[in-house]
Amino acid sequence: MSFNSIQFIIFLPIAATVFFLLPYRFRNLWLLLVSCYFYMIFVPVYILILFLLICIDYVMGRLIERGRGTQRKIYLLVSIVSTCAILFVFKYFNFFNANLSHLALFLHWNYSIKDLSLILPLGLSFHTFQSLGYCIDVYRGQWKAEKNFIVYALYVMFFPQLVSGPIERAGHLLPQLHAKHDFNYQRVVDGLKLIMWGFFQKVVIADRLSLSVNQIYGHLPQYQGLSLLVATVFFAFQIFCDFSGYSDIAIGSAKIFGFDLVRNFNQPYFAVSIVEFWRRWHISLSTWFRDYVYIPLGGNRTSKLRWTFSIVITFLISGLWHGANWTFLGWGALHGFYYLFSKWTKGVREHFVRWIRLDRHVIFHQFVKTLITFCLVCFAWIFFRANNFQDVIYIITHLTAGWGYLGMSKPEFAGSILLIMFLLSIHTLEHNLSARIASQSSMGNTIYAISQKPVIFRWAVYVLMTLAIFNFGVMENIPFIYFQF
């Protein structure tokens, strides 16, 4: 079930109302049942894969906790290998097979393994990582193995975060699944406000921008220069609003039931460096990679060479996680390069800033850093959005030519720019408020600030926002970008 569907609009209130009316002991079971229903709307049979994954990691978690010495390592290895095997078969097999086949052809080897005709189960990359994280946490002794199967299954399957995260940690979500959640008016209302903002980001901003982006990226030979640049910048905001919108709907939905999910975005395009960008973008995934890949590889307490290796590997895996395509690997590699380059040149850059006296103009300096970071991120998005490497090369080589053609109508362009400006002004407001109010969600401060206003003002804002979604939302079916991962 997609969040931006009538089905979900009907499903959520029914699921929540029944949840609060049921006795506590049945609530987790109810949530599990509705989560199964939510998932089975896509491809029903794939629930079996999810069930298999849950069973493996539930059993392994218990065995790891009971085991001793090398036994525990073996159980962890079984969990990692089996979980990764599922992910490999569904997501990466055809990619590796195609590349091996090309290699074999080049080397004149006889290679005849056929591709698998499988559809990637929705959200597989998300729930495999969540499940893996749990087993590693149990192995490290950071969390006790969950005894209650329903609670564990719900930890993996809780519908708001099932398909595209945020990727939860055992230590954060499992205790909440054991707690009793009563109806809390303020939480429910906050959740609904977040959902509203999520819908606005998705159907009004992201989907509107996607119309231009899809047109240009889908017919590249017809475009060059300005239109490619505009499409890439629009894509930067499209992917943000698409995923941040999804995350806000997920966090808002969970909030209604009384659960807090982790924050996924923190105004990433206000980052003043690539390092900071990764602290603000897809936070639940980047912290997952930090804790389960980067640190086990040695983290920053090793030699420079080993640290460089850890960074490169982490970013390459991050790229590959997004999709089985060389373009995603290129995107990951480029961000890895940015990251290393920014660390290596930190001293030189600081010296240069002092030399040109830019450091004396703090606000302007911040602005320049933000702009440069944004440009670098946009350049990397070309790799992420392009269908293949030929397209990437086409875009890069045609960026400087043909600057007379916008590639879209002027009203379309103006409308998109207005939406981006609106988003940035909301982010500025949120950014300025964040110094005063601590918040878990991307819009928490603004929502809190609005809630302090008189009732007429509040309701006018909510009614206007809903009407904007109703009338300026895009009707075309544009799936959430992160559904494909």
Binding site: S2, N4, S5, I6, I9, T17, F20, L21, F42, V43, I119, F183, Y185, V188, V189, V203, W459, Y462, V463, T466, L467, I469, F470, N471, G473, V474, M475, N477
Partner: protein, 324 residues
């Protein structure tokens, strides 16, 4: 605040939003056919001929490009006949048109509906691109308050096809327990076919080998349409469009003829139960009357010979001639 009070407050909010939506709703773009229908009915046209590409396609080898309605027009020069056509109109949309005609209080005498057997096949019925849910909604609710909610419903994917691409691709094509394959598989075989015969055979299977039942969605739409028009003074005229029986049976054999016969029998018997006669032209024309070989895929598009036969049969088989 309790759950009950919250729900009441939420309902109040929803009512306010819906109220404002009625005031500020964006205008809806009507299908061209609906605007034309309004005009012709306001001008007192008494025979409306609905149809898809089976009545509008013409062959490049035809001496004249007159479509079936145009030929019919010439045969009934004094009648006020108009054709409402769209390449993919089908019974669901015809039903929406009938609902609209009745709601607006128009009184045509005859509504002619072709029953295109290919449009009953799973390839059409389950095809996400052939559902026309939003067109049906606009036609049904034009000039009503419900149309104010067209955009919100569209934004939340109300008009999305009920079947996903995955389900469509994996729909089984079978007849009498014999499985011919799945839609995607057969379509791939069509694309990869080494010769014309194999390709055409697969296409005939995809388009015609299915078993109709009274519960089939399109059959239900047809019956709803009949029930809707009952006792309204508007006579529906149904006819089953000619099918290239000759080519189909030579490529597929008995399964083809038996399927078409069984399906047409069912349609006729269900309409007969409601005292409606159906003109069955399914096996009336030889292969030479079809023009699909020009287009490269089997269909029910007719050349001039076929179109002339169809128009003449419609005049002879009904009392259109006696009505002006």
């Amino acid at each position: 605040m309790t759950l009950r009070n919250f729900i009441l407050k939420l309902l109040l909010f929803i009512l306010i939003v819906l109220g404002f939506q009625v005031i500020v709703a964006r205008p809806v773009e009507y299908p061209r056919e609906l605007i034309i229908l309004d005009k012709v009915l306001q001008n007192g046209f008494s025979i409306i001929y609905f149809g898809d590409s089976t009545i509008t396609s013409t062959s490049k080898n035809d001496p004249t490009t007159q479509t079936t309605p145009e030929i019919l027009w010439r045969m009934l020069p004094k009648s006020k006949l108009w054709a409402i056509t769209h390449p993919s109109l089908s019974l669901d949309v015809y039903d929406a048109y009938a609902q609209y005609i009745l709601r607006k209080g128009y009184h045509p005498k005859f509504l002619i509906f072709p029953i295109n057997l290919r449009s009953f096949s799973p390839v059409w019925v389950s095809n996400p691109n052939m559902q026309f849910k939003s067109e049906g909604f606009i036609i049904r609710y034009k000039d009503t308050i419900w149309l104010k909610f067209y955009h919100p419903l569209g934004v939340f994917k109300y008009f999305e096809p009920p079947v996903s691409k995955y389900v469509f691709d994996n729909t089984k094509i079978s007849y009498k327990g014999k499985t011919y394959g799945y839609i995607k598989e057969l379509n791939d075989q069509v694309k990869r076919a080494m010769n014309d015969e194999t390709r055409l055979k697969k296409q005939f299977i995809l388009d015609y080998l299915y078993t109709l039942t009274p519960h089939y969605g399109k059959i239900q739409s047809m019956l709803r349409l009949v029930d809707r028009l009952k006792n309204t003074g508007i006579d529906p005229i149904f006819y089953i469009t000619p099918v290239d029986f000759q080519s189909g049976s030579s490529l597929i054999g008995d399964d083809f003829t038996q399927t078409i016969s069984a399906n047409t029998r069912l349609i006729k018997s269900l309409l007969a139960e409601r005292s409606i006669d159906v003109l069955d032209f399914s096996a009336s024309l030889p292969a030479e009357a079809f023009m699909w070989r020009e287009e490269g895929y089997p269909n029910e598009h007719l050349n001039l010979l076929g179109r002339y036969f169809l128009a003449k049969s419609l005049v002879e088989g009904t009392n259109l001639n006696n009505y002006r």
